[in-house]
Amino acid sequence: MSIYSTAVKRPISTLVIFIAVIAMGAFSLRYLPIDLYPEIDPPFISVFTIYPGASAADIETNVTRPLEDNLSIVTNLKNMTSQSRDNISAITLEFEYETNLDEASNEIRDAIGRIQRFLPDGIEQPTVFKFSSAMIPVMMLSATASESYAALAKILDERLVNPLNRIEGVGAVGIFGGPEREVQVNVDPRKLEAYNLTVEQLGGILAAENINLPSGNVKLGMIDYPLRFTGEFESSDRINDIVIGNFNGNPVFVRDVAEVKDTLREMTNEERINSELGLRMMVQKQSGANTVRIANEVHDMLEEIRPTLPPDITIGVVFDTSEFIENAISNLVKILYFAAIFVTLVVLFFIGRWRATFIIILTIPVSLVTAFIYLYFTGNTLNLISLSSLTIAMGMVVDDAIVVLENITRNIEKGSKAREAAIYGTNEVGLAVVASTLTVLAVFLPMTLIGGLMGLFFNQLGWIVAITITVSTIAALSLTPMLSSQMLKFSSAKRTGLGPKTSAFIDRTLNGLDNFYERVLNRAVQRKLTVAVGAVILFFASLLMVIPIGTGFFPVADNSRISINIELPTGLRLEETQKTAYQIEDVFKEKYPEIDVISTSSGYSTTAGIFGDPRAGSHTINFTLRLVTPSERDRSVFDIADAIRQELQVFPEIVNFSVETEGGGFGAGAPIQVEIYGEDFDVTNAFAEELARRMENIEGTRDVDLSRGPEKPELRIIPDQEKMAMFGLNTNTVSQVIRNRIEGMTSTFYREDGDEYDVVIRHKEEFRNTLADIENIQVRNPMGQMVRLKEFATVEEFFSPPNIERKNRLRYLTVNSQLFGRSLGGVTADIQSAIDEMEVPQEIFIRFGGEIQEQQEAFADLALLLLLSIFLVYVVMASQFESFSMPFIIMMAVPFSFSGVLLALLITGAEINVISLIGAIILVGIVVKNSIVLVDYTNLLVGRGRSIITAVKMAGKSRLRPVMMTTLTTLLAMIPLATSSAEGSEIWQPMGIAVIGGLSVSTLITLVIVPVVYTLNGARKVKKERRRLRKAVMA
């Protein structure tokens, strides 16, 4: 028994099965996580190693290089970049997609284990994180406070940062700014010298005084008392009264030589949120974790923790990348509803009956929910790709139901009862329906096979369309006949659904169209050669349109976020930097009402660690701006960013700046990166600077900048080894002594309420701020003599690179640029010609990195996919029609769909990018469907004995409506996608534009060219047959 007769005979089973499917789909949808794209973050692992006190060059030689040599053998490694800067070596390993990061990180730990004993002694254990420090954090939080400001960092670190770190998927939480309490013992070196004491002695005494010690047990009477000696400071004031020595028989107290302050640590940075002092926290996710889920959990945790914080602390959100994702996805869902309404209207327009329309439209929810079931069980997310796949599928899932229902109606009109018409009507078209589904599968299933970045996109798209289309065919063969048997009644051929007048009008219009098309066909068939040649010329001419169309990688969306980095003259003091920062803040507040949150960060953070910007210094300012949502402002984020660029040029003290807008959460960094490889700093610097100068003159580039910071000045103490030895000193002692006096010596901890605070001894500020102060530092030698630093060492000024970058074990630097108002492809071509004009030194080689590289890889994948789809469609059709030539005739539709795509992109000024190319590939599946309908029916008529020309004309006239109907359902489903201007629309628009352009042009041309080529082919066959007959007769 066939599926349709079972379905018709067991309507209740059929109904409950489909209700169960819908229920499961609804359940899956409820639990589907949301994301912007499928999991496309490249798998990253970072290895951070801290080597306190080492310079960038030392780090490179002693830490980064040996680590790199060992890490380079890790399997699946795609790229390895590293950055060596003062104190820190940061190595980032990028893996091939689909790499298991747990296995990779184990391998990395093994590799580190092997090399560790060859690394310098002073390094801290290398730490492995499953993210790239270049990734945009999921969220940036701010905290401001009034009375609690002094304790802000400590409170948040304990109560907020620790719980946040425990959220699954959070890679790390960085905290910037916020003062820390410390007990300072600021010594006056002259007094200390006078009492013949040193900082180290003082530290030793303080540490020795600040002790609690259990001293055994004492049995008194019946009780056993534990005995404890308590010497710890109960208050920081007590430090003042500690005796540190004797002078002339009188005790010397700490207060005699130093000033004890229970205060805040000296700040190297200042964080302001909307001009209020505070701090920033960054939440970074692990590679592959879900942004929206993490952001939601962070919000939940904030709500939980907020009441437990002191009431004056306000926690705010500087930015939250999940907001954009949620808005974009909810907008896309709205578009999906619109598409459904459009499809319903088209079906009603053509079918003209309410009940029939209802039966057809019901296949949409039934088949689309299966996509949610698939997504749920494969652990995928509801994202831009899955949702636009649904929009595409929506127009296609009704096709099978339409064909089945039309045939059932035809049978009823011929006099069958609904029940039988349902069974036998379905039987008649069942095979044809399955065959057309196979063609669609031939386009979409190969998409599930490709790998790499494009694979992550297309796997989902391919599966979703394949599954929903298959389910829609099953529904068309079971649910549709079952409902038809229950709901359809015998009625005259008149459509009455939209009222008699409208129906009559629609009928007239459609009949007019049919007749017009017949006339067109008639003429075309008469001049078949002219038409065919014309079409070929038209196609090749249309390819010329590709020249003015720009190319890009991914569309960039307005996500209301701007990040600004400003450099003032190197080495400028923090206080001066702050002044400029305040001025710029004022400009923002005055001229840019669109800005919602200004987060200002001046100077550099000592607590940022791995989050630290290698180029940050006391002279740098970083702004993070959040704008109000796009619907509440007129200017786009890109226009505002460009206006800010103009604004910043006015400040004479600004040496360099960059204003970045980020894409749709697709990695950080500039879109244009020219990588320059070479060992010699001077040669590569010179070349890069020259290239940067030339790039600045290229239209469309903004903020051209080198990744290697300008050399920064530093003071070096250069000992004379001979003299030092003469005094009985060695480098280790001397360097320690200097560090203790300038940076400070943490001698002990002051405990209060269970918290520990550093007790730091060092020279008072006025005794460590001139060169003379440093030269006058006294060092005690083993003989007990005090020796001044200047007696055995000199202090000199040097310049050194702040960071050394390497990629795949070669030194390199990048020249970066932002993009404004021009396509990636065009600017790249100009940069390439600029490089060609320059003389490239022999030891240098150049490559394009960033988006350009990604784009080239992606485009190559897409081209391959396109060829594979076309080939498979051909194979399926060749077997379906048992012919080599039929598939060619049918696929005449494909080239013209590309002409249509180009035309649409040209008119709308859109770019050829990954998203519009996805649209182009989908088109292959959609447009061949049209010509299959046409060719199949022509074949049928020829089989029924018509002449080829009559068959072509008759088929054209009778198939015009089904072709228009399937085309219009898909086309109208795409219109909301192409025209929406909601938040995030920039990302999906290109796909809508491409499909609309390609489908409409291809349909119009298919309707003429396919019948023409069919006649040409038929004429050839007839001639061949005649020749064969003549030969047979002669013989």
Binding site: S416, E420, I423, N427, G943
Partner: protein, 97 residues
Amino acid sequence: MKAVFIVYNQALTERVDEMLNRLNVRGFTQWKDVMGRGSETGEPHMGTHTWPAMNSATMCMVDDTMAVKLLERVKKLNETAELQGIRAFVWDIEGTV
């Protein structure tokens, strides 16, 4: 005794069955999915892609009066759904076991 051979578009199966029930014709032989083509009018019913429809055939042995009634009913049925196609043929039975 007459043999009545009714051959019809399978979409009419239920109505033919109902007709036989109404007339109390108990015995019959039925073939499903048979091919056929009318001599003058009517689409071929071949079960192919070109001619997708199929026929069913029912043969019943009835007495002479019933044969007339059956033919009348078939004629009526044909008039209500002329496009579907139903034909009946009658011939004599010379003996049964």
